[in-house]
Symmetry: C2
Subunit: 202 residues, 2 copies
């Protein structure tokens, strides 16, 4: 393939990810349709499938951006509190997660709405982005629980992420938890302070 063709493919690829990102951000993953994508990108529907194998792969690319923006948002908040204890850092990260989720609700839900049935279908770069996020949690946890094995730290990282995710996810849906936003933050603090205020009860 010529360099010129490559450049054209790359431009279409970027343009499609831009458009899909905006469409998901405005109306959720359910609103993503090949036809409207093609119309907005000024290409044929077939051209989409020349650069992405299916809409799942395109959505993955959008999710990759969302993961990176989420990571950057958390890191920016952490940079504001260089003196924070590991416990405080976990709270700062969780509140940053809550804010990112509420400000980017459709894009954030899309990270979880995309059902991938086979684990192998998840590209390596996607799993790496997830591992980067988990690593940000693992750091403070190792400081709080210095005696835990690497396996238990990994398990606790996922348990803690899942817990905060559950509180944020149900909290943002008024229907289930039915609590106002400051109470969601207090729930996170309640769980995290109880979880981390002892040295090791595993």
């Amino acid at each position: 393939m010529s360099a010129k063709t490559d450049a054209r493919r790359d431009a279409l690829r970027t343009s499609l990810v831009d458009i899909a990102e905006r469409q998901i951000s405005e109306a959720g993953l359910g609103a993503l349709k090949a036809r409207t994508l093609a119309t907005e990108a000024g290409c044929s529907v077939g051209a989409i499938y020349n650069v992405f194998s299916d809409l799942n792969e395109l959505t993955m690319a959008v999710n990759g951006r969302t993961f990176r923006r989420l990571g950057a948002a958390i890191e920016a908040d952490l940079a504001d509190v260089p003196e924070a204890s590991p416990q405080e850092r976990l709270v700062v990260m969780s509140v940053a997660y809550l804010r990112f989720a509420s400000e980017n609700e459709h894009l954030w839900r899309c990270l979880f709405d995309l059902r991938v049935t086979e684990l192998d279908a998840v590209p390596a770069w996607y799993r790496a982005a997830l591992e980067d996020l988990f690593a940000m949690i693992g750091g403070p946890l190792r400081e709080i629980f210095p005696d835990l094995s690497a396996t238990d730290i990994a398990l606790m990282t996922r348990a803690l992420f899942s817990s905060v995710h559950g509180i944020v996810s149900l909290g943002l849906e008024q229907r289930i938890s039915g609590v106002p936003r400051p109470q969601i933050e207090r729930m996170i603090e309640l769980i995290l302070s109880n979880l981390t205020e002892q040295s090791a009860a595993v």
Copy 2:
């Protein structure tokens, strides 16, 4: 309306909930369609809307059953351990929740997939069923944290439910947490033991 017409309406209502429950159980909420419901119930599409205002109301009725079955499953497991401490009861309830979710995955996800935009759209009986579930968690929590106010117990109940829900929900989706089932149980125990092994760190 005559008693005979009432009885006929009730029979159609029950029959539609039965069919919808089976369809959701087999293929998820996304598969629920008025036309296939009508075909299976042997009625017209219009007849569905004589007994339910829309498919949301029908889905609510299915969810009501699921809530009651979930409550019964948890109570049955609790009845097996009459001597358990409040901490142990919370673990038993959470593991029962995990098992129910994995054995009834589509029906269980449907409890959360049904997006209700206005809080008022949630019928009183639905909220009562939810409160019954929360009350089961509140009992042991009050024993563990006797000094907490009713408001804090309510908040902790929701925080704890949301945490366990997050672990179960992401845990059952291999993609995100990528851990086998026994590890999901261990994550629940990890969170719950850390959360409840001290008298009050709120």
